[in-house]
Symmetry: C2
Subunit: 424 residues, 2 copies
């Protein structure tokens, strides 16, 4: 394998800016993640995966592409990785978590769209995303207005497939979604020239279920009175899950789960007894974004559960493994993904009830709703969540923010006041 510098130079990135972003992210990671005391030793793999996600991992993808594999860029956990893997392609989550690229998007796109989209676009526009030049096809979905319309623009310039996620949850919508997933399968077969057979699909269903089960197992430990893993470390694992090589990831995750198991037995935790337990719900925190979790945990609380796309929504519910034919497997996959509770649905009672259930299961003392600026669906749904939590007697707060550091002090003050109130 080539060394990482020459690999990167083959991608024609804006190297000075790329280096600046890398060092910015590295510094943040050190301050927010590595600085924690008493972390599980097995986190070192995930630390390495974060810091090398745009170097060593890129090398692997370049090599796989040289052997004929296609890379598929995704922006949402509704895209069924099972299908991508069954066609021997590589799915990579391209959502941006850095504030540094935001201005590059704002030069071309409206400013009042969410930082996640702007960060993602900004990296592509500023030629600092090493994955972008490797993408053989992008897959967009219709989960929000800003993303949906962004695909219109991106699909003018490069190969793009759009998966329509319907907006209600009834049988008619579930049927449309199955057909959309089928069409996605066709698009992936077309791109790769590989047939998505029942055998390959069966394998990838089992592999993805294994990944989900391990993540679920890890998260179960967060229910303990003394959580043996911090919310920040659990978040890092989730972020790595979205674009690491799947088998290696599962093996390393298994090692982490074993270590966490033994830490739990020995009551080893990064938190003292009586630490306020926080459930975070709402928008995802993707790679590069550790802001909220870091503020919460350096304010003396523990994040014990994430109801988000970088949390429970990603690993809850397995794909039914009983299907025999490829068509039945596609339906089983579609049905599993259709049950993810994104705020894009109307009505969305399932999510509202589930947040309350999770708060109880994970014994959260308080719920913080995380809403990225200009994300209409989570911002408005927050009102119903607040009400449901109030009825259940669980204190909560809505934090609306972006990727900048500017409001950190203000957020810290608000969060500390909330924690103080809960402790009393």
């Amino acid at each position: 394998m080539q060394d990482s510098e020459s690999l990167l130079s083959s991608l024609r990135l804006n190297m000075p800016l790329f280096e600046e972003m890398q060092s910015f992210t590295g510094k943040k990671y050190e301050e927010m993640i590595l600085n924690q005391a008493n972390r599980p030793a097995s986190m070192s793999y995930f630390d390495h995966a974060v810091l090398e996600s745009e170097r060593a991992r890129i090398g692997e993808i370049i090599e796989a592409r040289e052997h004929g594999a296609k890379m598929i860029g995704t922006f949402c956990i509704y895209v069924p990785d099972e299908i991508v893997y069954a066609a021997s392609a590589i799915p990579v989550a391209l959502c941006g978590g850095t504030s540094l690229s935001v201005p590059y998007a704002e030069r071309k796109f409206p400013r009042d769209i969410c930082p996640l989209i702007k960060s993602t676009l900004g990296r592509a526009f500023s030629r600092t995303c090493p994955y972008a030049p490797l993408e053989d096809m992008g897959v967009g979905e219709t989960t929000c207005d800003a993303k949906k319309k962004t695909w219109d623009i991106l699909s003018q310039k490069s190969r793009f497939h759009i998966l329509e996620l319907p907006q209600k949850k009834n049988g008619r919508d579930a049927g449309l979604w199955r057909e959309e997933v089928r069409e996605f399968r066709d698009a992936v077969e077309n791109l790769t020239g590989n047939k998505v057979t029942s055998e390959k699909l069966g394998d990838s269903i089992r592999l993805m279920n294994r990944k989900r089960k391990l993540l679920l197992e890890l998260n179960e430990f967060r229910k303990l009175p003394l959580p043996p893993i911090s919310g920040r470390d659990a978040l890092v694992v989730m972020q790595v899950a979205l674009n690491d090589e799947r088998e290696r990831f599962c093996n390393r995750l298994e090692a982490l789960v074993n270590e966490i198991h033994s830490r739990a037995g020995n009551e080893i935790s990064q938190f003292p007894e009586g630490t306020v337990r926080v459930l975070v719900t709402g928008c995802p925190s993707v790679m590069g974004n550790w802001k909220l979790h870091s503020i919460i945990e350096t304010s003396g609380a523990a994040v014990v559960c994430d109801e988000s796309c970088t949390g429970t929504r990603y690993f809850e519910r397995m794909v039914d493994e009983n299907a025999k034919t490829a068509e039945d497997m596609i339906d089983a996959i579609a049905d599993r993904y259709f049950k993810i509770n994104c705020s894009c649905f109307t009505p969305n009672n399932e999510r509202i009830e589930h947040v309350v259930e999770l708060a109880k299961e994970y014994k959260a003392d308080v719920v913080i709703q995380y809403v990225l600026h200009y994300c209409h669906t989570y911002a408005i749904e927050a009102m119903r969540i607040t009400e449901a939590l109030k009825t259940a007697g669980i204190p909560s707060m809505v934090i609306e923010t972006d990727y900048s550091d500017e409001d950190e002090g203000q957020l810290r003050t608000r969060i500390e006041a909330l924690l103080e109130r809960v402790k009393n």
Copy 2:
């Protein structure tokens, strides 16, 4: 009929605030609409309809309800009025166009949603919308994130039906939409207790088609070198169309069309020869909102076409009158509405091409894209429209604004500079 004051008092409005809003709107109407020189005499009916839309019109609705009719509140031109009328119910467009009610929405809802939604909600929350207490059912749709999620909240408090508009335009989506329209028919039958028969549906299809044809006819005159009606007056007609009594409206519109016909013959126009011709495209300007059209026309240009929900999207394309059974009629209705080119679709090439076509048909010298703050779909689609217009050699500008007066000076400066550039 009772006098309007006692009618209004029966609705338990916040009368001082209601009066303040009425007088504010009345003053704006005088400054922006009535002040125009050389208007068609037949506009007096529409002036009256605007100024009485919340008094005399309310009286009519109260009376109809006393005789058993139901009032259905709508927020979008995708809601098929044919079905509402066929059940002897009254559809009323409830979208708010006043800035005065916006703060009342911002106290409860996120601030960064569009002024149209905030104005609408604010009127209900501040008890200044006289239609709200008369609404027997609301009908929401899924055209944008903010509206879609707003229905979740409103449907907790009152009877509400949600029509899912799919997000792509293929056959699968068209099929889902037909079923949604069918379900809406069932909901309206349920509410009213009236069966939507083929006879009633046939009548209402013909009546709505008549309305559309008359509006189309009126707008055809705007293609003339000397438009015999101003853009502001044409907009007022559209605003009245959305909640006036349908038969009377058609009769009065017919009289206006006749007058416009004769003005055209005599080359009577509010504009001197060589006036710069503007096509406005994008978000709607609903009752109470004459801001952009007024700035454009008092800057020496003429608005000759509106590609918006208060423009061509409302009256283009007829419902096929050949269907015989009620079920076939429902399909014909669904198919007509499904062809409206809202920016909520992906991809949406039809709208992009249509804007260019309309600009040519109406001989627009320039296109102004009107985007309400935080409207992601029009804001992002504006990029493709700008590009398509550029390719066609038509100058254009994107105006992003809300309902406040604050940016009026700035908008005027930008628009004047654009017009100056076009003239040279």
